[in-house]
């Protein structure tokens, strides 16, 4: 292994979105020699797609707001499956994390008395989201990026990690390749933080970028770490379904708020059958279920959605109240929404589940391995509130960075096991020049088709069972996947071979956890179990590695005794 590039650090952070950047900054502040490794260029991560804001109970606009209300909102939004202590720490620490961003140069919209302004958002009792226009994620990412650049962190851009290395039970490093030249690289680490985001690319219709292939879930699971709440994948009911370039792009709920009408291919206002009282302004799960059913029963629009129409409203009103939707459809779809209907359908948005972590340190169930951000699970329970992802990554990114730095302290450079490195490199070499014949692009398309049709926003026993079977078959075929061209340099076909393996681990975990949870709760809707279930209201599904197989274990929701009064108070308020 002498010829392979090797780097040693106290802390290696994988992923450079908001969570990874915040973790790296925290680790460096603790004195750890820190590396940040990411698949793309720095500052391009999916965090840029967050628009609305960062949730933090600052009380700048609503003096009644405080961490207790934010905690209660988060728990109610997560249908009480959240890790209580995580939800508590999140609500308590978010305000300090946001103020800190300002000290690092972040710029946010102001109130008339020159404080950070806060806006209202779904599920939040008070006006709570600190924001800058509709590009808060970019502001947050750029602020963290500039802080990290001046924190003595070494950044390895366009470098994909394919395997975690272990010394006994402990994670002690990683192997990867550089995308530009295909050369392999190894890292020795005192502790390692995963901050790789979600896995929206398992679905055909998604708001996620090519990077969101669940690398952290795959790497952690491969190293023996537990995953939790994997059945909870957030879909938004209205995304664009056409044209191809914008499939999955979000269509704001304000379209329906302004009087938009949903119709199927026969012209019927179908919401009259699903929720005659609230119609289009029913809750998201109901609207999404309705759209799903219409399409599945053959009453969909030409491109597999339904029609959302505001053309009965005065054109001026549409342009005034929905300017960005007007522009979005005019520019990208060539549809004048003042004259004709939009086509919309659900779009895969965010993973509530992920690597099971210790609330205070981000430590996973494997020593030396930490996780934070979307790739960790527990904080958001069965459903995430808007604005809580940016605050989540700030609070727990910092905690995971600190946790890793403390864990790594005083550890010398680890002994990396040549056999493990050779095995990891052998795998990647097989994808270029092995005997395999499966096309990664074709398998990815099949995977997406399966997840889209059977593990979407609405699920049932038959569909999920089919999906599990189909995914098992895809996993067998994926063992002999190979790039069409053997080039090492910036070869996306080769890269996809490895990403595909992670997507398969994630997809199988999601499908199997969804099959096990015999109820509907938050983002998990079972057509065959449409109600809440008492047993499942108290249990998370934990996905564990079991030899070469998978074991699913329902485990009690981690609660905090001191918080029982707050939770009970909120449950009581919802009942009355």
């Amino acid at each position: 292994m002498a010829s392979i590039e090797r780097h040693d650090y106290d802390v290696v952070v994988i992923g450079a979105g908001g969570a990874g950047l915040r973790a790296a900054i925290a680790a460096a502040e603790e004195g750890a020699r820190t590396a940040l490794v990411c698949k793309s260029l720095l500052g391009k991560a999916h965090t840029v797609m967050a628009e609305g804001g960062v949730a933090a109970a600052l009380g700048n606009v609503a003096p009644d707001d405080n961490w207790r209300v934010h905690f209660q909102d988060t728990m109610f939004g997560g249908k009480y499956l959240n890790n209580w202590h995580m939800a508590e720490l999140h609500a308590k620490e978010a305000p300090d994390r946001v103020r800190e961003l300002e000290q690092w140069g972040g710029v946010f919209d102001r109130t008339p008395d020159r404080k950070m302004s806060q806006r209202a958002f779904g599920g939040h009792t008070h006006r709570r989201l600190v924001h800058i226009g509709d590009r808060t994620g970019l502001e947050l990412l750029r602020t963290l990026q500039d802080k990290a650049v001046h924190s003595g962190i070494d950044v390895f851009m366009e470098c994909t990690i394919t395997r975690l290395l272990k010394e006994g039970e402990r994670v002690c490093g990683a192997v990867g390749y550089r995308r530009a030249d295909g050369n392999f690289v190894t890292f020795g680490s005192g502790a390692l933080v995963l901050a790789t985001g979600g896995a929206g690319k398992c679905w055909r219709i998604t708001s996620n970028s090519w990077e969101c292939t669940g690398d952290g879930y795959g790497l952690a699971f491969g190293a023996g770490a537990d995953l939790i709440d994997m059945e909870f994948v957030q879909f938004h009911p209205t995304g664009m379904v056409w044209p191809p370039g914008v499939v999955g792009l979000l269509v704001t709920e304000a379209v329906r708020g302004e009087g938009g009408i949903l119709r199927n291919s026969t012209g019927e206002r179908f919401m009259e059958r699903y929720d005659p009282k609230r119609l289009e302004l029913s809750t998201r799960d109901v609207v999404a279920r309705a759209i799903f059913t219409e399409v599945k029963e053959g009453r969909g629009s030409p491109h597999g959605g339904v029609f959302l129409d505001v053309s009965h409203l005065p054109a001026d009103t549409v342009r005034r109240k929905l300017p960005s939707m007007y522009d979005q459809f005019m520019e990208l779809a060539g549809v004048d929404i003042t004259r004709g209907p939009m086509e919309v359908g659900p779009t895969c948005h965010y993973f509530m589940g992920g690597i099971r972590v210790n609330a205070e340190t981000g430590a996973s169930s494997v020593p030396g391995l930490f996780a934070t951000g979307e790739c960790s699970g527990g904080m958001n329970g069965a459903n995430r509130l808007g604005g809580n992802s940016l605050s989540d990554l700030l609070v727990f990114g910092r905690r995971a960075g600190q946790g890793a730095a403390h864990d790594a302290a005083d550890r010398g450079a680890p002994q990396l096991d040549d056999a493990q490195i050779e095995d990891a490199i052998g795998e990647m070499t097989r994808y270029r020049s092995g005997p395999g014949t499966e096309d990664p692009y074709a398998l990815h398309a099949e995977l997406q088709a399966t997840m889209q049709s059977d593990v979407g926003i609405f699920r049932d026993e038959a569909g999920l069972s089919d999906a599990v079977e189909h995914l098992d078959g895809l996993a067998r075929r994926a063992a002999s996947v190979r790039a069409a061209v053997a080039k090492r340099e910036y070869n996306p076909g080769w890269h996809l071979c490895r990403d595909l393996q992670n997507m398969l681990i994630v997809s199988r975990a999601v499908a199997r956890a969804a099959l096990l949870r015999h109820e509907s709760r938050g983002a998990h809707s079972r057509l065959d179990f449409p109600a809440y279930d008492d047993y499942w209201s108290e249990h998370n599904v934990v996905v564990c590695k079991d030899g070469d197989g998978v074991r699913l274990e329902p485990q009690p929701v981690p609660k905090t005794r001191d918080l029982i009064p707050l939770v009970e108070q909120r449950k009581e308020a919802e009942r009355t």
């Binding site: 226009g133 970019l138 851009m157 370039g245 990208l332 910036y490």
Partner: protein, 243 residues
């Protein structure tokens, strides 16, 4: 559906050429869709950099029909219908492979800019007018199209003595922060090569975020440098202080 021809630049640092591909163009397809469709079916090793596909990350920069643009924001049907569409890598940076260039120089430049350095022990009070002024610059998605089109980098290759429009914008956003205390006027003049910019405004024209790079960032920076460095009174005071 109509058949469109794309001429994609294929090659690496040692050279390359335009290669033609035909695709069935669906209505509303953007150039990035077409390129990714070619990658899935005809050129499975085609190197292209992209991320958000929503004009928010600035990854898919290229030269489309000779003009620096984002592939995700350029619709096929907005380009001349009966001509092939050429897609080439950025010209101001070295090619890695196909449409991907080595833009690491930009990240090195960024490291040399002193970070935000706030005043200590003051109440954090900022007005919306300050925010609006800085916000225009902070919209930047770092697509580097302005760097690509700037003749100082593109034609004269003065990467060693000029930071380029992107980082003049970055410096302007820091300099205009009401609570910042660092002075970057020396840096921007000496190392940053601010004087090299002769205000041709090409950068502003290609900016996908419509930032008025020249008018709102570069010209005010030039004025600030003149005020600080060449104002006779300040020069005198500075000399006094040194004594």
């Amino acid at each position: 559906m109509s058949t469109r021809t794309l001429q994609l630049w294929r090659g690496d640092a040692s050279g390359g050429e335009l290669v033609g591909y035909e695709i069935e163009a669906e209505t509303g397809m953007v150039v990035l869709d077409a390129v990714l469709a070619i990658q899935r079916s005809q050129a499975k090793d085609l190197a292209v950099r992209w991320n958000c596909k929503a004009a928010k990350c600035g990854s898919c920069s290229a030269e489309i029909n000779g003009r620096p643009r984002l592939m995700c924001k350029t619709r096929l049907d907005h380009l001349p219908e009966h001509e092939p569409i050429t897609v080439e890598p950025l010209k101001a940076f070295p090619v890695i492979r196909d449409l991907v260039t080595d833009v690491s120089w930009n990240y090195e430049v960024n490291k040399r800019i002193p970070p935000f350095t706030p005043r200590r022990d003051v109440e954090w009070s900022i007005g919306q007018d300050d925010v609006d002024r800085m916000s225009e610059f902070r919209k930047c998605i770092e697509c580097f199209l302005c760097q690509d089109v700037c003749h100082i980098l593109r034609d004269h290759h003065l990467h060693q003595s000029y930071f380029g429009p992107r980082f003049l914008v970055r410096i302007a956003s820091l300099e205009m922060h009401p609570l910042d205390t660092a002075d970057r006027t020396g840096l921007v003049t000496d190392e940053g090569g601010l004087g090299l910019c002769n205000i041709t405004k090409c950068c502003s024209e290609v900016c996908p975020e419509s930032i008025h790079i020249t008018d709102n960032a570069i010209i005010p920076l030039k004025e600030r440098v003149v005020d600080r460095r060449y104002d006779p009174l300040i020069k005198l005071l500075r000399r006094r202080r040194r004594r």
